[in-house]
């Protein structure tokens, strides 16, 4: 043992950073309008390939709510050549699993596959995207699974609170008011014809990008893409209608979803936020980190590390093609419900009114800048970011400029964007919990009008005290 030696008390200074640049990316386009985005990453043998379509749940008519999500999920349920099981097995033999999903903004179909089997795996991907069969029997099953999932969501405090929140902050005319996967009403009515309509409208080369990342030769990828997708024709991408993101919060109000016996209250506070393509994106990124992103963010430092009210408190903007939600959130023990609201509103007011400290600003900027090489260590996240640029119509060199833009954010910028984009006096407050346990305190807190929603609920089982 090293008897007598002392611990080093002095914090080490960082070494010299190794220069890091977002990997060089090759972009080209096929005659049919399909964009090809290829990023070689040496030594990354598991390739990520994604076909991203600039078409999501937000683009579908309200009457077929859920069709886009279901159409993506059903993409791998069989093609003109193979049924779902044959397709899965063919992919598995290559060490690949094909997945397809849709969200509010976009639809994607992709796979991860070892480099040596990229070409045959891409053939399967092309088959899935270009020639899906949408068999009625499998659609019936997927539709029932979605309906059952909605039933489950109703009983899950987190998901129920999220649902109550979005349905409170958007106007009835906005698609963001409902779940991207549709409601029980619209989902129950979906037919294979509805899904084929989504396919014809959305899965077209002129609104798609093929992103391939890993240890690949760009020329070889372009050749594969030309062979598999060169003859792909599809309806000219229809011009997308503007997205209705009308809000429904013109003053502060409280909505309690009563859950008798609940040992915690799920809190959601906020209103609609801003779209991804916005001049304030970088300042808002830094501000969100300080308010509710970093471990030592103001909300977490206060509600968790000072008060012990919660396992974690956070806040952030869901940046979509249109104005997605801004949400501050936590799950707190029931007795802490109303005191927590006081702390939330204190922090929301503070960041709007006063300049953040130099330390806070530096920590947030340094995190966003420093974590860059970690974010992009492997092909999957690189492909995800490149798809995101395409979906949001952002410039190709956005990621090259990212760090400098974050570095340029000032404390005054942070205050300005907080003031502009956070509106505590016009926010919805959703509380999913045992209303009877905090009703009187809530009333006394005088936050605004209160309404109470009572779901059909079971008698609470005995819980810890």
């Amino acid at each position: 043992m090293s008897a007598g030696r002392e611990m080093i008390t002095q914090r080490p200074v960082p070494g010299h950073p190794r220069p890091y640049d977002f990997p060089h990316t090759v972009r080209t386009e096929l005659a049919n309008g399909l964009r090809l985005i290829v990023t070689p990453m040496q030594g990354r043998e598991l390739i990520a390939a994604t076909l991203a379509f600039r078409n999501g749940a937000v683009d579908e008519p309200a009457a077929v709510g859920g069709a886009t999500v279901l159409a993506a999920r059903a993409l791998t349920e069989g093609t003109e050549v193979r049924d779902a099981i044959e397709l899965t097995e063919a992919a598995e033999r290559l060490g690949a699993s094909i997945h397809a999903e849709a969200g509010w903004d976009a639809t994607s179909a992709g796979l991860d596959v070892p480099a040596s089997r990229l070409a045959p795996a891409m053939e399967l991907l092309a088959e899935v995207v270009r020639r899906p069969r949408y068999p009625e029997s499998e659609i019936d099953r997927l539709r029932d699974e979605r309906l059952t999932d909605l039933l489950q969501a109703r009983a899950d405090p987190r998901r129920r609170a999220d649902e109550a929140y979005v349905s409170s902050i958007y106007a009835p005319s906005s698609p963001y008011r409902r779940p991207a996967g549709g409601t029980a009403e619209t989902v129950a009515a979906l037919t294979p014809a509805d899904l084929r309509a989504v396919h014809a409208r959305a899965y077209v080369p002129s609104s798609a990008a093929l992103v391939v990342v890993g240890d690949v030769e760009p020329d070889a990828v372009v050749q594969i893409a030309e062979d598999l997708f060169g003859a792909w024709s599809g309806a000219e991408g229809v011009a997308q209608a503007p997205i209705d993101d009308t809000g429904a919060v013109d003053r502060r109000f409280v909505r309690v979803v009563h859950r008798p016996g609940s040992v915690q209250t799920e809190i959601r506070i906020g209103h609609r936020g801003l779209p991804r393509r916005h001049a304030d994106f970088f300042a808002v990124s830094v501000m969100s980190m300080i308010l509710g992103g970093l471990f030592n963010s103001r909300l977490n430092a206060n509600l968790r590390e000072d008060k012990g009210y919660t396992y974690g408190a956070s806040a952030g903007f869901d940046l979509r093609r249109a104005r997605g939600p801004f949400t501050a959130r936590a799950a707190v023990n029931t007795e802490a419900t109303v005191p927590s609201l006081g702390e939330f509103f204190k922090e929301l007011a503070l960041i709007r009114e006063e300049l953040v400290s130099e330390d806070e600003l530096r920590s947030a900027r340094d995190f966003l800048i420093g974590v860059f090489p970690l974010r992009f260590e492997t092909p999957g996240p690189v492909a995800g970011s490149l798809s995101g640029l395409f979906i949001h119509g952002l410039p190709d060199d956005e990621l090259a400029h990212y760090r400098a833009a974050i570095e340029a954010v000032t404390a005054e910028d942070v205050r300005r964007v907080a003031h502009e984009h956070i509106r505590p006096e016009r926010s919805a407050v959703i509380l999913l919990g045992d209303h009877e346990a905090f009703a009187a305190d809530l009333e006394a807190a005088n936050l605004g009008p209160i309404d109470v929603v009572r779901d059909a609920e079971p008698v609470a089982p005995a819980e810890e005290g």
Partner: protein, 454 residues
């Protein structure tokens, strides 16, 4: 498609700290993983949940680091971090840009050496409240949230250290004292009870010099108490059933078996068996219960490897509306029985192995995962080279071995069947919605879970 070999060095400081270094300069990032050979299995009656509460205290500061400053410094360095507690271990890890490696080593050494100098009643009370809210959030206020406590309670006898949950009980958390923290630290948080693995963009000689400089002064504990004998019969010896009423809209089955200990190659075979049963849409259970007969909303089975006495193999299936629980249970066990009696086909085996190999290629590409595996295999098995030898071992499993593993584990006298049913009056009106597009079912398992600090 060979998965690349991970080259590493494996040395010990004079105080017993094991230091493993795996250089790789592809990306300018480095992973640091500190593994302590202490988990909730070291807790005694009346002190459940303590190992995990202690893990939280490890982020409350040490002699030269303030409360939560560890988190702050690593994040401001552009790093990510966390800590987790599980039955067999407690681990702490950071991933950082490589020029910040020295910071992580200093931070880990400072709390390994001087935690008690910063310990306060206030911080302990605060983290006790945080952990109680973690328990409420992850278990008490969640549909089906009691399943793991119940299943492990049945699979392991009362006096076995896996019987109680890692999160502990509210009563025991309330009882934890500063004296408990001091004693636990002095006993288990010694360098000779830990491994630190560093993987990624670093230089071996420099790392070893830093390790000596920062960790070298920390004294060993020559008297770490051995775990009392906790060996178990390989099977339960009976079938155990429990029905639980919960505020859930749909019934769900949780099934548990005892299984060979982690490290036993029969567990590799069982893992492959479970891959055939529920890995992907063409797997046996998924195909029959979800796709063909449409009696289950979801189905899954997989082994959770533990080293003391017995592992477990856990299954779950959510019953579709209008279907009898018994129908699902019967189909579930029939598929397990079929695998236990008939040798699986060659194509099925080949596909399962190809997927595993590709997954491994993806996992080992990340420095965080390489550091984690090296530390885990060293801590649990004294064999960090398992990072290279486990996959070949897994790929060598034969169809006969899969059948045999299924036959030994999936026995009627070796299973716990936990049936959740909606409590009277439970909501089943089918209205409402959600904001996610995932396969909503919660309670899905991962084989290496645990309680996290954040």
């Amino acid at each position: 498609m060979p998965v690349p070999v991970v080259e590493f060095t494996d040395e010990r400081l004079a105080n017993g700290l094991r230091v493993i270094v795996a250089e790789d300069h592809l990306a300018p990032v480095v992973g640091v993983h500190v593994w302590y050979n202490v988990g909730s299995k070291h807790e005694v009656a009346g002190k459940t949940g303590f190992a995990h509460l202690f893990e939280h205290v490890m982020f409350q500061g040490s002699a030269n680091v303030g409360k939560t400053e560890h988190m702050q410094l690593v994040q401001a360095a552009g790093g990510t971090l966390n800590g987790t507690t599980w039955l067999d271990r407690t681990n702490y890890y950071e991933t950082l840009p490589s020029h910040e490696l020295e910071l992580a080593l200093w931070l880990e050494a400072d709390r390994m050496g001087t935690l008690l100098e910063a310990l306060s009643q206030e911080n302990l009370d605060n983290q006790r409240d945080v952990v109680k809210n973690e328990k409420r959030w992850s278990y008490d206020n969640r549909p089906y949230g009691s399943w793991s406590e119940k299943l492990f309670g049945h699979l392991f006898p009362v006096d076995h250290p896996y019987h109680h949950p890692t999160i502990g009980s509210m009563e025991d958390l309330d009882a934890a004292s500063l004296e408990d923290v001091s004693q636990f630290f002095a006993t288990y948080y010694a360098p000779n009870n830990a491994t630190i693995a560093i993987a990624g963009d670093c230089e071996h000689d420099q790392v070893m010099a830093w390790a000596e400089q920062y960790f070298g002064p920390i004294p060993a504990n020559p008297a770490i108490p051995p775990l009392p004998d906790a060996s178990l019969p390989p099977t339960l010896g009976e079938e155990i059933r429990e029905t639980v009423e919960d505020r859930v809209p749909l019934p769900r089955l949780y099934i548990g078996f005892r299984a060979p200990v982690y490290g036993d190659d029969r567990l590799d075979a069982l893992e492959l068996a479970c891959q055939l049963l529920s890995g992907g849409r063409s797997s046996r259970l998924h195909k029959r219960l979800v796709r063909d007969e449409r009696i289950a909303q979801d189905v899954e089975i997989g082994p959770w490897g533990f080293v003391t006495g017995s592992s477990v193999c856990l299954g779950v299936a959510t019953v579709r509306p209008g279907v009898e629980v018994e129908t699902v249970e019967k189909a579930f066990f029939e598929e397990l029985e079929r695998l236990a009696t008939e040798i699986p086909g060659e194509d099925e085996m080949t596909r399962a192995k190809a997927l595993t190999e590709a997954d491994e290629l993806g996992s080992l590409a990340r420095v965080e995962e390489r550091a984690r595996r090296l530390a885990e295999y060293s801590g649990l098995f004294d064999d960090p080279d398992l990072i290279n030898s486990l996959l070949p071992r897994y790929l060598a499993v034969t169809a006969e071995q899969v059948r045999d593993a299924a036959r030994e584990t999936f026995r009627a006298d070796n299973r716990v069947i936990l049936t959740y049913i909606p409590a009277p009056g439970a909501a089943t009106d089918g209205e409402g919605g959600d904001t996610q597009d995932g396969d909503g079912a919660d309670g899905h398992q991962s084989s290496d879970t645990g309680e996290e600090a954040a």
